[in-house]
């Protein structure tokens, strides 16, 4: 068990299973919609400046060469 210096809240630990299930359904349907929109050429560009959630690690690989 990791030590934890604040109470994570039991309800919050339990609820995550349901939250994840709902998120899974949503993400799946979004993925399907994305493909359909892409096929029909209806994709819009994102106007928020913050980039994606994923980190581009390519540079790190290059450096180790």
């Amino acid at each position: 068990m990791n030590f934890l210096y604040f109470d994570p809240g039991l309800g919050a630990m339990i609820v995550q299973a349901v939250v994840a299930a709902a998120a899974g359904v949503l993400l799946f349907s979004k993925g399907v919609m994305y493909k359909i929109k892409g096929f029909l050429g209806l994709l819009k560009e994102d106007d928020d400046a913050y980039d994606s959630i994923d980190i581009d690690e390519k540079e790190d690989i290059d450096e180790t060469k």
Partner: protein, 462 residues
């Protein structure tokens, strides 16, 4: 490492993994043996390196290593802003940043064990994660322990702000550990339950917290959550937050379209400011009431660090957008109400410093207060010597624009006083100078061409 001449940082005591302390003027972070295993794993696996390289985590160098303590020294941050001082965009980016860091951690077998909004601040124009010890090992199939904290510190306030406006963020001043889930749920309109993301992450969470609030012996078994499921939660929160927006009209949004001065006057004011600031050669400058940073931007290439604050969250948000677009790494924007600056909060009222304390620490060489004094004096009913005292507490030089009674904005403020208009006869240049001379020497004084406004250069007597 010498142990004398050090003092602990007031905000750093909750996490047993380590603490921040001042070694003379330098802020360092001590790591306790309880966290050595994690620290070494994070360091040796290249985890820190990637995060730092991608500008997600504040860079640090390892200073000393012993059996009792490892000391690291993070890159200094010019000025710490707190969540209740952020515009909507900034708050949003801080939330997205936190999720991004956690997702990367998960992909490398770690977790973000702490999702406090105070672990993010703005540095070099972008959000940065500043708590280097907030990571731990991921244990297979365990839910995210900082999930609730993410909801009370980030998701809840953002969703509330999207319905009620950014004034909601000020609630963080009275709730240092985030807005309670129950309160968030009760403040949301019923229709918010129709969103499966808001329903599960807030309403259902509030319900579950209520149901399980009496598990005093920690007997209930915690459900398992696969890594894939946890990633789904994070991805979905990220997508949802990224699309959040607010619709807030403010008096300042299009301020420069509405003002009474023409292009020549605008240019004249810019030139005056540029000349005066350049002559002073400041290292740090703050523009209070600086709207979207229009005037601060005239000197941004000449001053190593510039802060622009405004009472209007929209103006600050617009400024933040420009900072990101122009890649102005030396400019920082945040929300501040001069008449009600952020107080010191938390343990001993010193866990998060008051705005005035932080301004004293920042110690700007030049403070600008352009077309602000009539609002402080006439809307806030603050006598001249009192506002002078406020500026004198942290400013060396003060560039202040004084709109005279003939200025249209001033006359409008005066007319609105109706039968009390005579109470404000003191609003004139003589009284202003008398009040400010108690704390400042007047070095320059010039009328902004084509306006009824006078620009002063004042030097602190101390």
């Amino acid at each position: 490492m010498k142990q004398n001449n050090t003092s602990p940082h007031q905000a750093s005591f909750r996490d047993p993994s380590g603490y921040m302390f001042y070694d003379g003027d330098v802020l360092r972070r001590a790591i306790n043996p309880i966290y050595f295993k994690q620290y070494n794993a994070l360091k040796d696996s290249g985890f820190f390196k990637t995060l730092i390289k991608n500008k997600l985590l504040i860079p640090h160098t390892q200073t000393t290593v012993s059996d009792q303590q490892i000391v690291i020294t993070p890159e200094p941050i010019a000025f710490i802003t707190n969540p209740y001082e952020w515009s909507f965009e900034q708050y949003k980016h801080a939330a997205l940043h936190t999720l991004k860091v956690h997702k990367y951690a998960l992909s490398k077998g770690f977790i973000l064990k702490d999702a406090s909004a105070y672990n993010v601040t703005f540095h070099k124009g972008s959000p940065v994660f500043i708590d280097t010890l907030s990571f731990d090992f991921y244990e297979k199939d365990t839910p995210w322990r900082a999930y609730k904290q993410f909801i009370t510190h980030f998701f809840g306030p953002l969703v509330l702000a999207s319905y009620h406006g950014t004034e909601i963020f000020k609630m963080l001043q009275t709730h240092i550990d985030g807005i309670p889930v129950k309160l968030i749920a009760s403040l949301l309109p019923g229709k918010s339950k129709l969103s499966s993301t808001i329903y599960t992450n807030i309403h259902l969470l509030a319900k579950m917290e209520r149901t399980h609030s009496e598990d005093y012996k920690a007997e209930t078994k915690i459900a398992k959550l696969s890594l894939k499921a946890q990633n789904n939660i994070i991805d979905n929160l990220f997508d949802f937050i990224k699309k959040l927006s607010i619709k807030e009209e403010t008096e300042w949004g299009n301020y420069y379209d509405k003002t009474n001065y023409n292009d020549a006057a605008f240019q004249g004011k810019k030139t005056l400011i540029e000349d005066w600031v350049t002559a002073l050669n400041p290292q740090r400058l703050i523009d209070i009431g600086g709207n979207d940073g229009t005037f601060a931007r005239t000197v941004v290439t000449k001053v190593p660090h510039v802060i622009v604050t405004d009472i209007d969250s929209n103006a600050v948000g617009y400024n933040y957008k420009q900072i990101q677009q122009n890649k102005e790494t030396n400019m920082l924007a945040f929300v501040c109400d001069v008449l009600q600056p952020a107080p010191g909060i938390g343990l001993n009222n010193s866990e998060r410093n008051s705005l005035v304390e932080r301004l004293k620490g920042y110690s700007p060489d030049v403070t600008m207060a352009l077309a602000l004094i009539h609002h402080i004096t006439l809307s806030g009913n603050v006598p001249f010597d009192r506002s002078a005292q406020f500026f004198a507490a942290f400013s060396k030089h003060l560039i202040l624009e004084f709109p005279t009674r003939e200025d249209s904005w001033v006359s409008s403020l005066l007319v609105r006083k109706r039968e009390f208009i005579n109470h404000f006869d003191f609003y004139n240049q003589e009284a202003f100078e008398a009040g400010y001379k108690q704390y400042f020497d007047i070095q320059k004084k010039e009328t902004v061409p084509g306006t009824k406004r006078v620009l002063y250069l004042l030097k602190n007597k101390v």
